[in-house]
Every structure is written in structure tokens, then in C-alpha cells.
């Protein structure tokens, strides 16, 4: 990598203007699902459509992680038979999907959210309680507008 020389202006990262928290939706039980209601603070920055698509994809990914089916039962039974020592060497299905989610969020941030001065935080860092969207102050530095 190369070292970039920064001027003081560039070092001043855009200041955080506010944060929006998308809460969990418990209407279907305890599975991990987030509300798709579009928050009013984002109205000036983002399309409702895009937001809903992001949240819906996230919900689908979490549903895939927690899906009950032949594969997860097999994993559970195998784990039980090996006295759960198998988890020491194998990655669980849930963890694999979490990595997928992290990649998806990074991708969304780069393509859609960062150009609009927003940042999605991976819910796993907030204990799967909220999707935190940080709204940066609208400055013209490096926002590519």
C-alpha cells in the first residue's frame, strides 16, 4: 500500500450529524428480523425503495441463518453425538451466513450508503438489536457529488 499524505482538511472526517436506529420486528416471534418502516430522518438522503430492499435482504439472510430444516438438524445431531466438540473445529452454518451478511453490508456501504453520507453498522456489533445508520454532515469533501 502507499502512504497518502493528508492535509488537515482531509483528516477532518465528516462529523456525525445523527444516528438512526432500526429496531427489531418481533411480530413473527424471536427470529432476527428488522422493521422495514422508513425513518423520516433519511428522507432527504435515501430512496424508500433502496432502504426497504437493504433491510429486506438482511432479513432474508438472517432467516437463512436461523432456518430450521434438514441441514441444521443434521448439524445439531452430529454435534450432539460428538459431545459438542465438533464446534471447536467446524464453523457453524450461522457463522457462515454472518460472514455473508458482513460482506453484503460492506458492499452496500460502498455502493449506496457512503456516497450519500450514510453508514450502515452491522447489527452483530450491536448485539443484533438494531441496525444503526450513521448520518454524516453533508460536506462536499470527498462525497463525490
Amino acid at each position: 500500500f502507499f502512504v497518502q499524505t493528508h492535509s488537515l482538511q482531509d483528516l477532518q472526517q465528516p462529523a456525525v450529524s445523527s444516528k438512526v436506529f432500526i429496531q427489531r420486528d418481533y411480530s413473527s416471534g424471536t427470529i432476527c428480523k428488522f422493521q422495514t418502516k422508513f425513518p423520516s430522518e433519511l428522507e432527504s438522503r435515501l430512496d424508500k425503495q433502496q432502504f426497504e430492499e437493504t433491510i429486506q435482504t438482511l432479513n432474508n439472510l438472517y432467516a437463512e441463518a436461523e432456518k430450521l430444516g434438514g441441514k441444521s438438524y443434521l448439524e445439531g445431531c452430529l454435534a450432539c453425538l460428538t459431545a459438542y466438540t465438533i464446534f471447536l473445529c467446524m464453523e457453524t452454518h450461522y457463522e457462515k451466513v454472518l460472514k455473508k451478511i458482513a460482506r453484503y453490508i460492506k458492499d452496500q456501504n460502498e455502493k449506496i450508503y457512503a456516497p450519500r453520507g450514510l453508514l450502515l453498522t452491522d447489527p452483530i456489533e450491536r448485539g443484533l438489536r438494531v441496525v444503526e445508520i450513521t448520518i454524516f454532515e453533508d460536506r462536499s469533501i470527498g462525497s463525490g457529488r
Partner: protein, 353 residues
């Protein structure tokens, strides 16, 4: 803000750029700390955050001790006799059960039960704001509840003052560990940890295998004593028969409680309930005139069992071994925020449970 700018000129902070995350952590004056070192709950951590225990794990050594001593006596005194008189499979079965019991016990004790990390200050402020707009302006408002619909049934979510968030359904705050635990069952002093979503299956396999082990040893000991009486040699081998009697006493007293507990938990698993809900009678029909019934149950014993015991293993939410993010004073928020998912993902591969 002027102070922050001054700190940015600090050469250590200048190394903060997206591709030099590793250098950044090495150049920090002090060793980077892991999140478990600043964990707010009353837990103890070992092996650099890999193992988690409640603060008061007083009875766990006793549980382990009882199991090991009883099995030790069994292998030393009963097995030689029974191998002669019956079959060589007796110590084999005993050994397998013993190993299973100890592994399940250790997994239950050392696994994160499903602790929810406390709300960040921003989140807490956001929730407070949402609540204040709807009413009271007293300094310490009364316990707040939020009603939601789960599968067409009204469920009340309570606000946790310690963790500063609305508890998800089936979550309860354990006062001994000072943590909110998901699908909180109970705090087991014998195991030295809470039993919650992530370690319930280990707990269940522990008590089931312990029931089998205790019954097995009990059966063998009874057989041994019966055979000894038949052979009329009991008086001549007082030492070994004394140990056998000790085992008999221990097994006799523990078998009732353990079998009872196993039966109770089997009922809970089949109806997808937690001990907490059962004791409080949250879903019993006496409570309200409205439709009550467990909204989480799948109304099929097989499905309930599979879901509770063989369902996917959720990850630990507290990220014990993650490195603490750099100080919030330097406004390098976006750079470190994008780095943090990579850090967490890297560490996740090392995190077991």
C-alpha cells in the same frame, strides 16, 4: 473541536488509514485491549476471553468433584468385580457416559448463555427520546413496557434499566450475573452459569446423560452388593464394600432430584417453554380471559424438541475476544467503523462459543 484537531496531528493518529489497520493497533502506546476486559457484567473470563463463567461459581467444583469421585470409586471398586462376574462392557459404557457428562457440564459452564450486550449510549439516548415524547417527565419514570404482537398474541416487553434497552421477548435479566440473557431459563448454581439460549442444549444433554450415568452406577452397585451377599464375601472385603455403600448413598439421593429435573426439562423442551416462563405462569390459561397459550410453540412435540435441541447454534453476541475500537476522541469514525466489521469477522473465526 480544537482539541480534537490537535490530537490528529499526533503522529500515532496519522497512521489511521483504511489499509493500515494492523500498524495502527501496533503503534498504539499501550497493548490493545480486548472487549472482555471491559465487560460490564459480573462474569469472569479465562484463557484470554475464550472461557466465560459467572462470578459466583461456588458449587461447580462440588458438582465436578461429586461426579469424578463417584465414578472413580465405581471404576476402582465395582468394575473389577463386575467384569469378572458379568461383562467387560460395564466399564466401557460407564466410561463413555462419564466422558459425555463431563464434556456437557464443562460446555454448559463455560459457554456464553446468550448474553445481550448493553445498549450503546447513542441507542439508549434514542430510546429515551422515543419514550419521553409519549409522556412522563419525572426524573425516574415508572418501569416502562411496550406491547407488541407476536403471532397474534399480545406480549409485553419490559425496559431494562441496567442494560438500557427494551428486552427482546423471552429475555430476562439475571441479577447474579448482571446481564440480560436471551431465552433465559434459570441461573444454575451447580453449573455456575446462567442457562439460556446458547447453552440450554448442553445443559439438557448434561442432565440427561447424568441421569443415565447415575442410574447405571446405581444399577451396577445394587448388582454388586446382591452378588456379594450371594457369595457371602461381604464381611471379608469391608473396604471395597464400604466404598460401594458410599456410592449407593450418593446415587440414591441424587437420582431422585436428577431424574425429576430431567423429566421437568423434557416437558419444557416438548412445549417450548423456559423455566422462567413456567414458574411465572406466563402462558397458563388461568392468567387472562384472552387467548393465552405459548406463542412460541410450534404445536408439535417433535418440532419443539428439534428446534430447542438441534436448531442452529446462534453466535455469541458479546464478542469477548474482539479488540476495543480506538478512542472515540479522534473523529476517525468512518475509517474505523469500516475496519471493525473485518476485525469482528476475523475474530469470529476464532470464537467458538
Amino acid at each position: 473541536m480544537k482539541n480534537c484537531e490537535y490530537q490528529q496531528i499526533d503522529p500515532r493518529a496519522l497512521s489511521v488509514s483504511p489499509s493500515s489497520a494492523q500498524n495502527h493497533t501496533e503503534k498504539k502506546a499501550q497493548r490493545p485491549r480486548r472487549k472482555w476486559e471491559v465487560f460490564p457484567g459480573k462474569n469472569r473470563f479465562f484463557c484470554d476471553g475464550r472461557i466465560i463463567l459467572a462470578r459466583q461459581s461456588g458449587v461447580l467444583p462440588l458438582t465436578l468433584g461429586l461426579i469424578v469421585v463417584t465414578c472413580g470409586l465405581f471404576f476402582a471398586f465395582d468394575c473389577p468385580f463386575l467384569v469378572e462376574h458379568l461383562t467387560v462392557f460395564i466399564p466401557v459404557i460407564g466410561g463413555v457416559l462419564f466422558v459425555f457428562v463431563v464434556i456437557s457440564l464443562l460446555r454448559t459452564s463455560f459457554t456464553d448463555p446468550g448474553i445481550l450486550p448493553r445498549a450503546t449510549p447513542d441507542e439508549a439516548a434514542d430510546i429515551e427520546k422515543q419514550i419521553d415524547t409519549s409522556g412522563s417527565s419525572t426524573y425516574r419514570p415508572p418501569p416502562r413496557t411496550k406491547e407488541i404482537l407476536i403471532n397474534q398474541q399480545v406480549v409485553k416487553l419490559k425496559y431494562c434499566f441496567t442494560c438500557k434497552m427494551f428486552r427482546p421477548p423471552r429475555t430476562s435479566h439475571c441479577s447474579l450475573c448482571d446481564n440480560c440473557v436471551e431465552r433465559f431459563d434459570h441461573h444454575c448454581p451447580w453449573v455456575g452459569n446462567c442457562v439460556g439460549k446458547r447453552n440450554y442444549r448442553f445443559f439438557y444433554s448434561f442432565i440427561i446423560s447424568l441421569s443415565f450415568l447415575t442410574s447405571f452406577i446405581f444399577g451396577c452397585v445394587i448388582t454388586h452388593i446382591t452378588l456379594l451377599i450371594d457369595d457371602m464375601v461381604m464381611l471379608s472385603c469391608l473396604d471395597s464394600s464400604l466404598c460401594t455403600v458410599v456410592e449407593l448413598v450418593i446415587c440414591f439421593f441424587s437420582i431422585w432430584s436428577i431424574l425429576g429435573l430431567s423429566g421437568f426439562h423434557t416437558y419444557l423442551v416438548a412445549s417450548n417453554l423456559t423455566t422462567n416462563e413456567d414458574i411465572k405462569g406466563s402462558w397458563s390459561s388461568k392468567r387472562g380471559a384472552e387467548d393465552s397459550g405459548n406463542p412460541y410453540s410450534y404445536n408439535s412435540i417433535m418440532t419443539n424438541c428439534c428446534v430447542t435441541l438441534c436448531g442452529p447454534m446462534p453466535p455469541s453476541l458479546i464478542d469477548r475476544r474482539g479488540l476495543l475500537p480506538p478512542d472515540e476522541a479522534t473523529p476517525a469514525a468512518s475509517a474505523s467503523d469500516i475496519e471493525l466489521p473485518l476485525f469482528a469477522a476475523k475474530n469470529d473465526t476464532h470464537m467458538v462459543g
